[in-house]
């Protein structure tokens, strides 16, 4: 990352560096050019002067000749003398200007030029004083006489000077003229040199300027292309971030969120993402405080150079978290999220950022969960088969028949019209009784897998019963479970049929029961009732870690119309006696009772007066205070009623729907439906229940049933 930024900086800087260099070079060239041009101008000036001066020796000669002739012909010579003085003065001044120009043209130090200049000066200085002398003669040169004019003294002196000057004229013309010619030639060369070098500078300057222009154009194009590339790259990054399903984000060293993140992040986390916001704040609403603290520690580990990121994956506390989001339509929704973190590496250095990746793994988790469930189901199936194999086929068939009947009856209850809350609650209780009855039977046959399933349905029913308000919608889970249970029992039924086919006759319970009794009791291969009860008692006592002996009397005499109901009732009562009536062995010992409890069941009567079914245990008796407390807590009685209630009325509460005193709901008891179902069944048969109990000694239920006849209607609704 760092190196790349460095590259980037240099490429940005290059045009500036190049442009500055070129501008400096160009400035230098132009300065030199201007200087050369100035020198060229000065040299040209000097050259022009030198050229102009070359005519002067001839001019002096002409003027001097004019003076000479004038003097001879005694004419006025003032004018040429004046001209000579002016020209001489001009020559002097021109020399000064030439010197100045030479200096300006940078030739002040040129040896050649100075030599020529020296020669010029020497020649001029030899000539100049003569001209000066000529100009110094004042007054008329003539003396006028009658004989005519003649030269006076001045005139003669003037004539002598003029003659002398003219005598030197050839030398002067040669020397001065030669020097001027040389100077002009030298200057000509200089002007040529300077002109050429000026041209060179200008050419180079133009070339440099053109190059600069080209370079600037190149850089401009390149930066435009780079900008376009950057824009395209930026757009592609935006596309990726907008499309990717994972929530991507960056974290800096302070664990603050980076400037960009994928669009999915907002969707997955159900919140707006603020750049620069703290990751901790983002996480806080999602996870418990403890997980949050661990998670922050974990993320900080990634900055540690020594820690290998692949080797700490397993300790990531955010690896899979369950979070709840408010649903738009109200309520909450549970999702499973998985956070992963990667260091963003740059140039072999430690990452400057962490890349965070959030994935919604709810589907995956659910699939895993379903897989787990199906595994558990397979195991349950296997368990069930093992359990089924323990039960004689005919007994199993009977159980399946009973269960199917109970479930159909439950369904029939649901199907009845009735939408009022009270009607719905009545349906609920009805279904509960049916379901509870078959659970008892399943428990009695040690079919724990089936019992567990029925227990689940009961769970749904209990959940519903505890609600303040129920409507038809709330029964959906019930009917779904009912459906599942029917499928399940259908499978068990098929198995039972096959089992009944393959089991040798000797293995069925028929062979155990004396043939005479068997004929009376056994109906379609059902086991005798006392046998079934013995099994129920054995199973229940084992599950409760209690020791119980069961004695049954007269059960084989139960008339056929009562048999089904009696079986239901007695299975309930027997289980109830063990779970609620009988104390644990240590409690019995403490109360100086035998640690093996006794449960006695009997069926008597038949002489016109009806029958009496008795279930008695030598347990702790009915705890009427606890019964009353429970009834109050469950709202079955009002506090005002409770205060007025006598003991028999209090005992009667245990038959009310929804009553249960067992602390823990187990498969064996404690739904508060057992005695409710018993009471219901007894009433359906047109009977009544009486209770006798003594604290710490016994509990006895006496169920009076009418003589069989018209009163016993078909109790099973198909």
């Amino acid at each position: 990352m760092k190196r790349r930024r460095h590259d980037f900086d240099l490429s940005q800087l290059l045009p500036v560096v190049v442009a500055t260099t070129f501008a400096a070079v160009l400035t230098l060239l132009l300065t030199l050019g201007i200087q050369r041009a100035a020198q060229l101008q000065s040299a040209s000036g000097a050259l022009q002067l030198a050229s102009e001066l070359r005519s002067l020796p001839q001019y002096f000669a002409t003027e001097l000749t004019l003076v000479q002739r004038g003097l001879e012909s005694r004419t006025f010579v003032g004018e040429p003398i004046e001209d000579i003085a002016t020209a001489r003065d001009g020559f002097d001044k021109a020399l000064v200007r030439i010197d100045r120009d030479l200096e300006a043209a940078g030739l002040g130090s040129s040896i050649e030029i100075q030599r020529i200049r020296g020669a010029l000066d020497a020649a001029w200085q030899r000539f100049s004083p003569q001209l000066v002398a000529i100009g110094q003669h004042k007054g008329s040169p003539y003396a006028d006489t009658l004989a005519g004019s003649r030269l006076n003294a001045t005139g003669r002196a003037l004539k002598a000077d003029v003659d002398a000057a003219l005598a030197q004229q050839d030398t002067v013309t040669r020397d001065v003229g030669g020097a001027l010619k040389d100077l002009a030639a030298g200057l000509q060369d200089t002007v040529g040199d300077r002109g050429r070098s000026l041209r060179s500078f200008l050419v180079i300057g133009a070339a440099v300027a053109a190059l600069l222009l080209a370079l600037m154009l190149y850089f401009a194009l390149r930066s435009r292309r780079a900008a376009a590339d950057a824009l395209r790259a930026e757009r592609q990054v935006a596309d990726i971030l907008g499309t990717v399903r994972e929530g991507l984000f960056l974290l800096d060293r302070n664990l603050a969120l980076g400037a960009v993140h994928s669009a999915s992040l907002t969707r997955i986390l159900h919140t707006e993402i603020v750049s620069g916001g703290a990751f901790e704040d983002l996480l806080r609403p999602l996870v418990p405080a403890k997980t949050l603290a661990t998670a922050m520690k974990f993320v900080n580990l990634l900055w540690k150079e020594k820690v290998h990121e692949d080797l700490i994956d397993t300790v990531n506390p955010l690896n899979q978290i369950e979070v709840r989001f408010a649903r738009t339509g109200g309520g909450t929704e549970s999702r499973h999220l998985s956070f992963a973190f990667r260091r963003v590496k740059g140039g072999g250095e430690k990452g400057e950022h962490l890349l965070g990746i959030v994935t919604d793994v709810t589907d995956r988790v659910q699939i895993a969960h379903e897989l787990e469930q199906s595994k558990a189901e397979n195991q349950a199936q296997l368990d069930l088969v093992m359990q089924l194999l323990q039960v004689p086929g005919a007994q199993l068939q009977a159980f399946v028949r009973d269960s199917d009947m109970a479930l159909r009856k439950s369904n029939a209850i649901l199907k009845q019209p009735g939408r009022e809350e009270s009607e719905l609650r009545a349906k609920l209780n009805g279904v509960f009784r049916e379901v509870h009855a078959i659970k008892g039977e399943a428990g009695g046959l040690a079919l724990t897998s089936i019992a567990a399933r029925i227990h689940q349905l009961e769970d749904s029913l209990v959940a519903l019963r505890d609600r303040a308000h129920i409507d038809g919608n709330d029964f959906i889970p019930i009917v779904v479970r009912l459906d599942e249970l029917m499928s399940y029992l259908g499978g068990v039924g098929q198995f039972a049929d096959r089992l009944a086919e393959v089991q040798p006759k000797g293995d069925t319970l028929k062979s155990i029961v004396p043939p005479l009794l068997a004929n009376q009791v056994l109906d379609a291969g059902e086991p005798p009732l006392d046998q079934l009860l013995a099994q129920v008692v054995r199973e229940t006592a084992a599950a409760q870690s209690k020791r119980v002996t069961l004695s049954c009397r007269g059960l084989e005499e139960i008339p056929a119309p009562y048999r089904k109901a009696a079986k239901e009732i007695l299975v309930h009562m027997a289980r109830n006696a063990i779970v609620h009536g009988i104390e644990p062995p240590d409690a019995r010992q403490a109360a100086s009772k035998s640690d093996t409890a006794a449960v006695r069941i009997s069926f008597e009567g038949g002489a016109g007066d009806g029958y009496v079914l008795t279930v008695e245990d030598d347990g702790q008796g009915l705890p009427y205070e606890r019964i009353l407390d429970t009834a109050l807590r469950k709202g079955l009685v009002s506090p005002a009623d409770a205060a007025r209630m006598e003991r028999p009325a209090i005992y009667g509460l245990i038959f009310r729907p929804g009553f249960s005193t067992a602390e823990q709901v187990t498969e064996h008891a404690g739904r508060g439906v057992g005695l409710d179902a018993v009471s219901h069944a007894v009433r359906e048969l047109g009977g009544s229940i009486g209770i006798a109990t003594a604290d710490g000694k016994f509990t006895r239920f006496r169920m009076k049933l009418p003589a069989t006849g018209d009163k016993v209607a078909a109790t099973h609704v198909a």
């Binding site: 029939a412 649901l414 199907k415 009735g418 349906k427 409507d471 038809g472 009917v479 779904v480 029917m486």
Partner: protein, 149 residues
């Protein structure tokens, strides 16, 4: 997704239709299993078929009287067969729409179809038990039937 939630979605769709389109709430009765014989079919039935993770059929079946009164409440005066068909089709449409929204890509949902006549039989796999959710509205009685395996 559990069958329970799926049924909940369908029931909610129907109730919502009564709440919003008909502007008079319907009441759900206790659902039950159709055991032995197929559930009762009324005069008009709007149905969707589902395949994918689950397979089966979901339909709303209602008597002509109920649909007519529903149309009346919707300010419709034309009680023609075509309009009654449209109405059950409309309900089936909301079933399909909600299912698509809630169940996601694991379900393939057919476009709704409408059948008329109470003697119609709706084909579904014989080993599945249809779940019948009674829908009561005013004095009328309709059924939402969910048959998925």
């Amino acid at each position: 997704m559990s069958l329970q939630r799926e049924i909940g979605t369908f029931v909610a769709a129907v109730l919502n239709y009564f709440d919003t389109a008909v502007q008079q709430a319907a009441v759900v009765g206790t659902p039950y299993l159709a055991l032995g014989k197929p559930p009762e079919i009324f005069d008009y039935t709007g149905m969707i078929r589902i395949s994918g993770k689950r397979k089966g059929v979901v339909y709303f079946t209602a008597p002509k009287g109920m649909l007519s009164v529903m149309l009346m409440r919707m300010q419709e005066t034309d009680m023609s067969d075509a309009n009654l068909r449209d109405l059950v089709g409309e309900v089936a449409n909301t079933l399909s729409g909600n299912a698509r929204k809630d169940f996601g890509r694991n379900f393939i949902i057919s476009t709704p179809s409408v059948v008329a006549g109470s003697s119609t039989t709706i084909g579904y796999s014989p080993d599945s038990r249809p779940i019948v959710v009674p829908i009561d509205w005013r004095a009328y009685h309709a059924n939402l039937v969910v048959c998925l395996n």
